[in-house]
């Protein structure tokens, strides 16, 4: 158990933890440039605030991908941890201290703590049971902030949040928030990329494939599932704190069970089990959900149709499809050379 964590030094893995060769270790820095350029290119088209929102959603999608794409556990209640981070940061700023950095740290800590407590119960289960137990905890969290804690949370009216300026970190400035969230997104992507390529990531993928075989090799899979669940919760919590700071407002919608659908869609559209896919899916989902309602009244129907398309035609999502195209192009090129 300790050895895999100790040996999990970045870059030590002999092969790519992801499926496609296009952005392997050799081209690692290129991928960051592409991600950065992609989000920067969206700013003139949309708006700074909107793109910040996109990036926060992408952080959330990355956290969900660790749980679903890599470990194979589909949760219908992952937004609980986003909401926990959002409320912890919001309540801290409202009642304790207006320091936004401390609020972010507390929000992430609260989400991690919630994951640590709920984790031992849910990671024992798989499949529909895992999904529904998470949904049940999500519902409990939603009603807690809505009703029993309304004295502090202001119920469905929510809380206005005004964080203080710490040095250059002024959360009221859209451009400052943009660059801060941008840095957070790249940092989260870097850390999760290293994690999923480490021996630890290898083990999580093995759990996804066949957990009992992993146990036959001598691993306490419960521990690894729990750690992965806590990591996913912590990253979702970070997305929650950033949501609160970006909107300067938090209400129970950040914990609404229906909002889980969005992140599931994002991972499926982009391609589960691949961090690039999660990012791409996050952006595509946000573009659809922000643009389509302007033109189509029942825009959710379009999402349903796209899900059907994914299930029947593009099982590996958009990123997977692009990866297949890339492999095809490479094969053709090699054939041409020979």
């Amino acid at each position: 158990m300790n050895s895999i964590l100790a040996d999990g030094s970045p870059g030590k893995r002999s092969s790519d933890g992801e499926r496609y060769p296009a952005l392997s270790d050799r081209h690692g820095w290129v991928s960051y440039v592409f991600i950065a350029a992609g989000f920067l290119a969206l700013v003139p088209i949309l708006s700074t605030h909107r793109v910040t929102d996109f990036m926060i959603f992408c952080i959330f999608a990355l956290s969900f991908d660790v749980l679903y794409g890599f470990m194979g556990r589909l949760s219908f209640g992952h937004i609980l941890y986003l909401g926990t981070g959002a409320y912890a940061a919001g309540l801290f700023i409202r009642y304790v201290d207006k320091n936004p950095v401390a609020a972010i740290l507390l929000g992430v800590a609260a989400a991690v703590a919630t994951g640590m407590i709920i984790g031992p119960i849910v990671v024992r289960t798989t499949g529909a049971c895992f999904a529904l137990i998470n949904l049940a905890f999500n519902q409990v969290g939603f009603f807690l902030v809505l009703s029993p804690l309304r004295e502090f949370t202001n119920g469905e009216d929510g809380l206005g949040i005004h964080a203080a300026q710490i040095g250059f970190f002024n959360t009221s400035s859209p451009s400052v928030m943009f660059w801060f969230v941008f840095a957070c997104l790249l940092a989260v992507f870097y850390l999760l990329r290293q994690l999923t390529r480490s021996p630890y990531g290898l083990m999580v993928r093995c759990i996804n494939e066949n957990e009992s075989r992993v146990r036959f090799l001598g691993y306490n899979t419960f521990f690894y599932k729990w750690v992965t669940f806590v990591i996913a919760s912590g990253v979702a919590g970070l997305a929650g704190t950033l949501t609160t700071l970006n909107y300067k407002y938090v209400n129970p919608n950040v914990m609404d069970v229906h909002s889980n659908v969005g992140v599931i869609f994002a991972c499926l559209i982009g391609g589960a089990g691949n961090l690039y896919g999660a990012l791409l899916g996050g952006v595509i989902y946000m573009i659809i959900s922000n643009t389509l309602p302007r033109y189509i009244q029942s825009w959710e129907m379009f999402l349903g149709i796209s899900l059907l398309l994914i299930v029947f035609k593009f099982r590996q999502g958009v990123w997977g499809y692009l990866g297949d195209l890339w492999s095809y192009y490479q094969r053709k090129r090699e054939q041409g050379k020979s």
Binding site: S3, R19, L202, R205, C206, R215, L217, G218, T221
Partner: protein
């Protein structure tokens, strides 16, 4: 090494093993033969902890192992290779061996060198996705993965089932190399393999051990053994 004393195992109300007792000594290769449905796989699953006997005892190196989790049994040195030939398909062969090496805290390169020493042909497909291997290559990978670290007892379920003759020969060679290095209890229908490798043969019929053979001349009488399978 392994001592099973009068275990009884059931699937629900259906009793499958009846007072099964057997013993495998240090460095010994034991084979279980018998017809389909005789309870051979059930016996292995009971040892590895997938099924719990409702009476009797299983001792490994003098310690009771009934109720221990598969991971604890694996770390104690019992390795199980099932008959499904399930490798981690999305991982390369090297990664399949790596993941086993981390569990045993054996240096990865040392483990790979040792395993490819048993089967040098494996070097050629170390970087191939395990899901793309043939059935025989998968079986060899599974046996190789079970040998990572310091296994004391191998439990292998039908290692040659459905494999081509040339691969069976390879598996025979690997198992021959392992003789005296590790104890093994193998479920097998291939009597040529039994004849070549077995130190002891247990004949299982309708959930009972009906015969235990440790005489080499009797084992070589394949016609007699054929009656049991």
């Amino acid at each position: 090494m392994l001592k099973i004393d009068a275990i009884n195992v059931s699937y629900g109300h259906a009793k499958v093993l009846h007072d099964v007792s057997l013993e495998i000594r240090q460095g010994e290769m034991g084979f279980i033969i018998g017809r389909n449905g005789a309870g051979k796989t059930t016996l292995l699953k009971s040892i590895i902890g997938l099924l719990t006997p409702w009476s009797g005892s299983i001792l490994f190196q003098g310690q009771a192992v009934v109720g221990l989790s598969p991971e604890r049994l694996s770390l104690a040195g019992i390795r199980y290779v099932g008959q499904e030939k399930k490798v981690f398909a999305s991982l390369t062969v090297r990664e399949n061996l790596e993941i086993a090496a981390y569990a045993c805290q054996e240096p990865v390169e040392k483990a790979i060198d040792r395993i490819t020493g048993f089967y040098p042909k494996m070097k050629k497909f170390l970087d191939t996705k395990a899901g793309l291997l043939s059935g025989g290559q998968r079986q060899i990978l599974l046996v190789g993965r079970a040998l990572v670290g310091t296994p004391k007892l191998l439990l292998i379920d039908e290692p040659t089932q459905g494999l081509a003759a040339i691969v069976i020969e390879d598996i025979n060679d690997i198992m021959s190399d392992l003789k005296q290095q590790v104890s093994a209890l193998i479920v097998e229908q291939n009597l040529a393999m039994v004849n070549r490798l077995a130190d002891r043969v247990f004949v299982l019929k309708e959930g009972k051990i009906v015969s235990e053979i440790d005489d080499k001349s009797m084992m070589s009488d394949t016609r007699k053994l054929e009656d049991y399978v």
